[in-house]
């Protein structure tokens, strides 16, 4: 992707105040380029979800602008924006309203008024992309939590959005299921989708994303590559966050010659080899 290409999402001076007077966002500026895999992190109530709800028009700015593919979200309906930005909610059970997985996946395209042939094509494609063809005829509520999360993501894929936002993609899943979900999101990113995840899991953010945005009290306090963000331990601590365990360990070992930028076990292994000079 050329760096001169316009961002898929551009946020300028965004502030949002809820009707009860809560200031959820204050003067947020942000650009998201096509093909990025972004992790948005922060404590509960820091403004993460409020921000991403502006991307598909569920919320409109109190001040400032949000441009999606150069279009002001104020001027478009949620239905229109849903074909640009797909949003998977934290609890997949909140969206399952159909009796089979196939019908669940067809729900969005039907709302868009697409032809039956196009709907069928999109459903089959989404089932294949997410690897849940075997669930096509099953009732979505009779599947596991991880499978329901896959179904929720697939049902967003049938809208053919360029950007996919997933709120807490691994909540309630064991380690193996979490890895499957994250690998699937990484595959979607590799296939050209811009992926944004909201997460509390620093290890996931470090391992899978190429950019981490840290929110605190409605403002972006850090924005950059995971390694550079997790180096800012003091700023993270002030906002109630801590780098991944492996990063904290390597930061403690810094006096012994270790790099403070390690974010995964394989990197730590390489760092041990470098420091102790053995293969």
């Amino acid at each position: 992707m050329k760096s001169s290409a316009p961002p898929i999402i551009k946020v300028e001076g965004l502030s949002h105040t809820y009707p009860d007077g809560t200031d959820a966002l204050e003067g947020v500026n942000l650009e998201i380029k096509r093909g990025e895999f972004i992790g948005v992190i922060g404590q509960n109530g820091s403004g993460k979800t409020t921000l991403v709800k502006h991307f598909n028009g569920l919320l409109k700015p109190t001040k400032g602008t949000v441009l999606v593919d150069s279009v002001d979200t104020r001027e478009k309906t949620i239905a229109y924006l849903s074909t640009k930005v797909g949003y998977v909610f934290q609890n997949p059970d909140h969206q399952i309203s159909q009796e089979t997985t196939e019908a669940e996946l067809a729900f969005g395209p039907r709302n868009l008024g697409l032809s039956p042939a196009e709907i069928d094509h999109r459903v089959k494609e989404a089932l294949r992309s997410v690897g849940i063809e075997h669930l096509a005829a099953r009732h979505p509520l009779l599947t596991s939590k991880a499978e329901r999360q896959m179904i929720a993501i697939a049902s967003i894929l049938t809208m053919k959005p360029e950007v996919i936002i997933v709120d807490e993609p691994t909540t309630g899943q064991d380690k193996k299921q979490s890895r499957q979900t994250m690998k699937m999101l990484a595959d979607l990113n590799a296939a050209g989708h811009t992926v944004i995840i909201i997460t509390h899991d620093m290890s996931l953010a470090a391992e899978y994303t190429m950019r981490v945005i840290v929110f605190h009290k409605g403002k972006i306090i850090l924005d950059g590559a995971p390694k550079s963000v997790f180096r800012e331990t003091e700023i993270l601590r002030e906002s109630g966050l801590r780098p991944p365990q492996i990063t904290r360990l390597t930061q403690m070992l810094q006096p012994f010659g270790f790099s403070p930028d390690v974010t995964s076990v394989p990197e730590m292994y390489d760092e041990f080899k470098r420091v102790y000079g053995r293969s």
Binding site: D20, Y87, F89, F107
Partner: protein
Amino acid sequence: MSFVRTFILYIPRDSFIHRLDPATKLIIMLTLSIQALVIAEPISGAVVFVVSMLFFLAANLPLGVLRATLKYWVATMVIIWITYTYSYSGQGSVLWQYGWLRLTDYSVLLAFTVMFRLFSVVTLALLLYCSTTQRDIIAGFRKLGMPYLLTFVFALAIRTLSVLYSDYNRIREAQMARALEMEKGRFFERLKKHVYLMGPLIVTALSRVEAMSASIESRAFRVKKAGKRTFYYVTHMRTVDYVIAGSLLLETVAFLVLRYLYGYFTVPWLLSMIP
């Protein structure tokens, strides 16, 4: 979700009202609501509404809470005006008449009375829910002597309603994110779209109820308990609480005596006061 988001959720503020004992806040709401409901003329009704608004302002709550309810207030006003002024066939001097439609001075005054009643009660309910946590509301009812069974059922009800409404909004947003246009179409078309919300809402509600009943049972809960029930969370009234609660209770008693024994605060009484 603007209105209910604020209605069901406590808004923390460092205000005089927030610091009051929950029982005092309940007394404020109950006594002023009683006054608003028994008053049958608009001037005193307006006074009770103004007093309710002053309490609301003293709570330092965002005016957005009231603004969010504005459309419901306007709709209510329209309904009241239509039903009370143009279809009222009681006493009073006729100001205007067209066929069976009749507008009298009495009916106009009564329409204002009903309007102020509703506005006062709504303002007071918002004041209570926005300035008091659910736990405090329950503690307040308990302190005022409500039987434990009723308190428990009420506690479950307000908690469940709050949680369900919040679930409803999330489900609505999740379906809208898949191009379900809830606001588009005629009334029945929009109503039909709620089918896509009801399924997930029922599933979520059942799952919550199951989890809650299991968690209650697993802690050996019984509504009827041998011996005196004690409570972990107890609130304490201060002098200011006794002064406010006592004054309002006395004032309400005086109101009731004047209203029902001497015929004050009615439209005929008001008209008799006008020279």
